[in-house]
């Protein structure tokens, strides 16, 4: 039955099958990595530095060692055997040592191991560190930062988008916008904390850790321990939220593995919430300078965007979202530049829609300002600049339904009622504003391998080391196999999240459905081919001599178009087999043939977005109503409507959920979320869930999701575009634009808080 959460499928959309793991999760049956029972574990508690820069002068462990039950304490003095792993190749950071040099706030300086969690906690609180501290550089505006051109330090971003002569185009434009924008530090704060359990059996290590890339973690840990990757198994069957924070190996994993080896006993770590702010990654704060030029009729002629991104002192982490923003409209000439700004901080990392969230906030704010300056409706302004050809190298879009999204959203929202004048709409004591912005996300795809087994009774098992991070991958892969093998979804058992299974890419860049479904599809088709071949080549069978092309596999039967069919069990008998199992590797167009071999070694290459012959993006339109109190300036969002198109949708329920959650996160980015930094010490201040603001139910009122049908045969065999990171893009700009419409105040720096409107 259709409901808001499970919309009826339209063209090119799959059924809203309930999530396989939904019941398991709400009943507590789903076992997250920290829930896995190991025999007689020791408990680890981390001690982290309270300075961001300097050196440990003395570590006094006497009091900690004296706590009854304490077994061992790892420090820089006894962990020298851990080998470094290179940043950017699986490791989240180069800051991997427990000291004595300190490069960031909250660097791990000791791991206390004890018989109980309580003893380990008490002992960790009793470790006394004395430092020789130096003045750190915290963030933009601090002394001592060093800035580098991203194109020079990041291979990935060597060639940033460029088209024509933007300076001349903007200089000669009828109307121009010149604005500065900023986004704050954000932390992922998944509900599931950063946990690791390590267990050795002889020389083999098992790591239970929530991971978005089990093969990457396996190979990374092996490297740090100096052992063969084959000796390591990583198991991560459920992940309790990740948003990118569990995509790369953090330093803790190797430490816990080493601890378990020293103790000859399994070791379990569940880091605390505040430690999560410093022992993993975060979305770095960014700054932007945008210039736009347009003709009087609204046609854009030039776009210049320079970005600045904070990173750690050691690593050039950079997202360079201009690669995507430059593709968005018919800009005419384009000029882009990105700077990595090094500070004394932990290394940032992927966080849901890493490149586009900050860069599209800036661009879509500027677009609204331009529309206003032109006296145009902001949706009509985007229509004038809509295009099926990217301004960069004039590549065609594989498909693009942006304006269809705007039209559907505008109708549902009642955009017509908008009075263009800022401050003109009111509801009692509240100022009312309507705003809009574009959501966009590059369609990525990577290599993947899958093993699928079909039994004569129609039971299917799918094995692939994809990752269930709340994305519904168990269900969606099951749906793909059920469809291709003609069985019911309940007959399919899906196994993911384990290096015992064939590899899949990181659950990042929203590639999972595209890559893994394509691999599963290919493998199922190999099984189909085997069955069809057996049916048509058997002399005595009902389908003997038929053309394979006319056969289908449905309801446990190989069937021809005229209705003639043969039961699966009979085909199996003819083949003389009790089971058919196929393994296949899927390598998308544009990648090297050995991409899967690399994946086994933990190395991932992906393609898509702007990189292929056609540019591939999922898009959407978000329309927001905000209310701002006329006296005290509280900002509320009573209503948000988003319409999105992303190729084939495998399951309208999981898609709806991703979009709804995305928009809620977008509201959070607009109004709530920011990690505050004490700039004197380069330390995070609000490192807990009471002070790190996210919206609660009362802040989220009416969220409407519209699924716009779209067909795209170019993106990948499965025809799907990644969409998990689509709907949280643009939302913050839509809210900021609505706040402007309500109050006449442009807020260029997120989050938008009361004090900015007083």
């Amino acid at each position: 039955m259709a409901s808001a959460a499970a919309p009826s499928p339209k063209a090119n959309m799959g059924a809203p099958a309930p999530r396989y793991d939904a019941r398991l999760k709400v009943t507590g049956e789903a076992r997250y990595p920290a829930d896995v029972a190991v025999a007689n574990p020791a408990f680890a508690v981390l001690v982290t530095s309270s300075i961001a820069k300097g050196r440990i002068e003395r570590l006094d462990l006497d009091q900690a060692r004296a706590v009854p039950g304490v077994l061992d304490i790892l420090t820089y003095e006894n962990t020298g055997e851990l080998k470094p792993a290179k940043f950017g190749q699986g490791s989240s950071t180069s800051i991997q040592d427990l000291g004595p040099d300190i490069f960031q706030d909250g660097q791990i300086i000791a791991v206390v191991l004890a018989d109980t969690f309580e003893a380990a906690t008490e002992a960790a609180q009793s470790v006394k560190a004395t430092y020789a501290a130096q003045a750190p550089s915290a963030t933009f505006g601090s002394q001592g930062l060093n800035s580098e051109d991203a194109a020079k330090v990041s291979q990935q971003h060597e060639h940033l988008p460029e088209a024509g002569d933007a300076e001349t185009a903007i200089g000669g434009a009828d109307v121009t916008i010149d604005g500065h924008y900023g986004t704050p530090t954000q932390h992922h704060n998944p509900i599931e904390l950063f946990a690791t359990t390590c267990e050795w059996t002889a020389d083999r290590l098992t790591v239970y850790e929530p991971s978005q890339f089990v093969y990457g973690l396996r190979n990374g840990v092996a490297q740090r321990l100096g052992i063969a990757p084959e000796k390591v198994r990583v198991a991560s069957h459920y992940v309790g939220g990740a948003f990118g924070s569990k995509g790369t190996m953090t330093p803790r994993t190797a430490m816990i593995a080493l601890a378990a080896k020293r103790l000859n006993r399994p070791v379990k770590l569940v880091a605390t919430r505040d430690q999560g702010f410093t022992i993993a990654t975060y979305r770095a704060e960014t700054r932007h300078h945008i210039r736009l030029g347009a003709r009087r009729d609204g046609k854009l002629v030039g776009y210049a965007h320079e970005g600045w991104e904070i990173s750690s002192r050691s690593d050039p982490y950079v997202v360079a979202g201009v690669e995507d923003s430059a593709q968005l409209y018919a800009f005419g000439a384009v000029k882009t530049k990105v700077n990595v700004v090094h500070a004394d901080r932990n290394t940032p990392g992927y966080m849901r829609s890493p490149p586009v969230v900050p860069y599209i906030f800036a661009l879509e704010s500027a677009m609204d300002e331009m529309a206003e300056k032109l006296g145009m409706d902001p949706i009509e302004f985007r229509r004038v600049n809509d295009t099926m050809t990217s301004p960069i190298e004039n590549k065609p879009y594989s498909s693009r339904s942006l304006m269809a999204c705007y039209d559907r959203a505008a109708e549902a929202f009642g955009w017509k009622r908008r009075n263009r004048l800022p401050g003109s709409m009111r509801d009692g004591e509240w100022l009312v504003g309507y705003g809009c912005a574009t959501a966009v996300y590059p369609t990525h795809i990577g290599p993947a391998a899958a093993r699928v087994r079909l039994m004569p009774n129609g039971d299917v098992r799918v094995q692939i080391a994809a990752h269930e991070i709340g994305n519904g991958v168990y269900t969606v892969l099951g749906q793909m196999a059920a469809e291709r093998l003609g069985v019911g979804l309940s007959s399919v058992k899906v196994e993911v999240g384990d290096t015992r299974l064939p590899p899949a890419p990181v659950a990042g860049g929203s590639n999972t459905t595209a890559s893994s479904c394509s691999a599963v599809l290919k493998t199922c088709d190999a099984i189909r081919a085997k069955l069809f071949h057996a049916s048509v080549t058997a002399n005595d069978g009902p389908l003997a001599g038929r053309n394979v092309e006319e056969l289908t596999l449905t309801d446990g039967k190989v069937a021809a178009s005229d209705g003639t069919g043969e039961n699966l069990a009979d085909v199996f008998k003819r083949l003389g087999m009790s089971t058919i199992e196929e393994y296949s590797e899927f390598v998308p167009d544009g990648l090297e043939p050995d991409a899967v071999a690399d994946l086994y070694a933990g190395k991932l290459t992906m393609t898509g977005g702007p990189h292929g012959k056609k540019v591939m993006y999922a898009m959407g339109a978000e329309l927001v109503e905000v209310h701002v109190h006329s006296q005290t300036c509280e900002i509320r969002v009573p209503r948000i409507v988003g319409a999105f198109a992303a190729g084939r949708l495998m399951n309208t329920r999981t898609v709806h959920s991703q979009y709804m959650g995305g928009m809620i996160w977008g509201i959070s980015s607009a109004l709530h979320e920011a990690t505050e930094i004490d700039t004197r010490y380069a330390r995070y201040v609000n490192d807990n869930l009471a002070d790190y603001m996210v919206p609660v139910n009362a802040d989220v009122k009416d969220v409407q999701v519209i699924l716009v049908p779209e067909v795209d045969h170019d993106v990948n065999p499965a025809g799907v575009k990644g969409l998990g990171e689509l709907a949280n893009v643009g939302t913050a700009a839509a809210v900021a634009n609505a706040v402007y419409h309500a109050t006449g105040k442009r807020i260029h720096q997120l989050p938008i808080r009361i004090e900015k409107l007083l």
Binding site: Q125, I677, V685, M693, I754, L758
Partner: protein, 334 residues
């Protein structure tokens, strides 16, 4: 978390005895635990002896009584029970609202009124022991918030030693309504005005209350008065629920023919202790509630207010919150 002795007190006397016996070993009463246990886990509070008083809930400590003379609230009444009480909602709306708008339903179900007024500040430097400088946690160590990140901090009642906000809501309703507080201690019982419970930080921010060692809060008494029905609590915050105030106002208004006969005002989110705005009350008495009078009252309330950077906006926001609350109170249909 450090090891500690946990003891359940079956009666008031047992509680008192346990505390007296443990006076040298840093004893602490435990009610709902939503302040105490949090701060123990954070290593901020380190009692060696924890005496659970929840068994007293069955006695006068757990009762709500309302009569012609006023309202009596036992210290072990849960926030949710007082917030949901229909008579309190009707006759003392400011009390019910200050509780209803605090914390979350789960916390309100656990947390007691006694514990609520004794909740500690949310100053992040106080709550994070890795910061050395905090005069409240560690007397004489300095104050990390003065030049640090102090957006949530106070602008009234501050000192050079501490600018931490008193984070509670209920306390402001109590101080507005001239409540008193009944105490029992090793040396017997006494009753003091609620306004005398909390101390300004001055140069001893670690000493937060005037409670004597081992003293237990029994109940709060709110006298009946003509202004309690026309009362409200307005809370302005970064999100719509489950968040402390950036600024709040507790208003109780007695007006006749559009003129203020009497008014009680307290301000939250901006002060170091529950804050009665007596000057604002004086400005308003005998006047009509209109734009000019509320603006004058707001200015009077914030004379001497001082921001420390990130929280500078709280002066203006506090004034606007007070103005809005006064106008809302005047417009109430009762």
């Amino acid at each position: 978390m450090r090891p500690f002795i946990y003891e359940r007190a079956p009666s008031r006397n047992a509680a008192m005895q346990a505390v007296t016996a443990a006076v040298d070993t840093k004893a602490s009463y435990l009610a709902g635990g939503t302040t105490l246990l949090d701060l123990m886990k954070l290593d901020v509070m380190r009692p060696q002896h924890v005496i659970d008083i929840n068994a007293l809930e069955r006695t006068v400590h757990g009762r709500i009584e309302l009569d012609r003379n006023g309202l009596r609230l036992g210290a072990l009444v849960r926030m949710a029970d007082a917030a949901d009480h229909p008579d309190i909602q009707q006759q003392y709306p400011v009390i019910a609202q200050s509780l209803q708008l605090a914390a979350s339903q789960q916390l309100r179900n656990m947390a007691s009124l006694g514990g609520n007024v004794l909740q500690r500040t949310r100053c992040t430097y106080f709550r994070d022991v890795s910061y050395a400088a905090c005069n409240k946690r560690n007397p004489g160590s300095g104050c990390a918030a003065l030049d640090g990140f102090n957006r949530m901090h106070a602008v009234l009642g501050t000192s050079d030693h501490c600018i931490a906000t008193y984070a509670g809501d209920f306390g402001h309703a109590l101080i507005a309504l001239d409540a008193s507080i009944d105490l029992v201690g090793p040396d017997g019982t006494r009753t003091i005005p609620f306004a005398e419970l909390h101390r300004l930080p001055s140069d001893t921010p670690d000493q937060e209350t005037t409670l004597r060692p081992g003293e237990l809060i029994v109940s709060f008494t709110v006298p009946a008065a003509p202004w309690t029905r026309r009362s409200l609590y307005l809370k302005v915050r970064d999100r719509q629920s489950y968040e402390f105030a950036l600024a709040s106002a507790a208003i109780a208004l007695d007006q006749q023919d559009g003129t203020v006969r009497d008014v009680r005002i307290a301000l939250g989110g901006i002060s170091t202790v529950p804050w009665r705005a007596v000057e604002a009350e004086t400005v308003l008495r005998g006047k009509a509630i209109d734009e000019d009078s509320v603006a004058a009252a707001a200015d009077a309330a914030f004379v001497g207010a001082k921001g420390h950077g990130h929280n500078d906006f709280k002066v203006e926001l506090g004034k606007r919150t007070l103005s809005r609350a006064l106008q809302q109170a005047a417009a109430l249909e009762i």
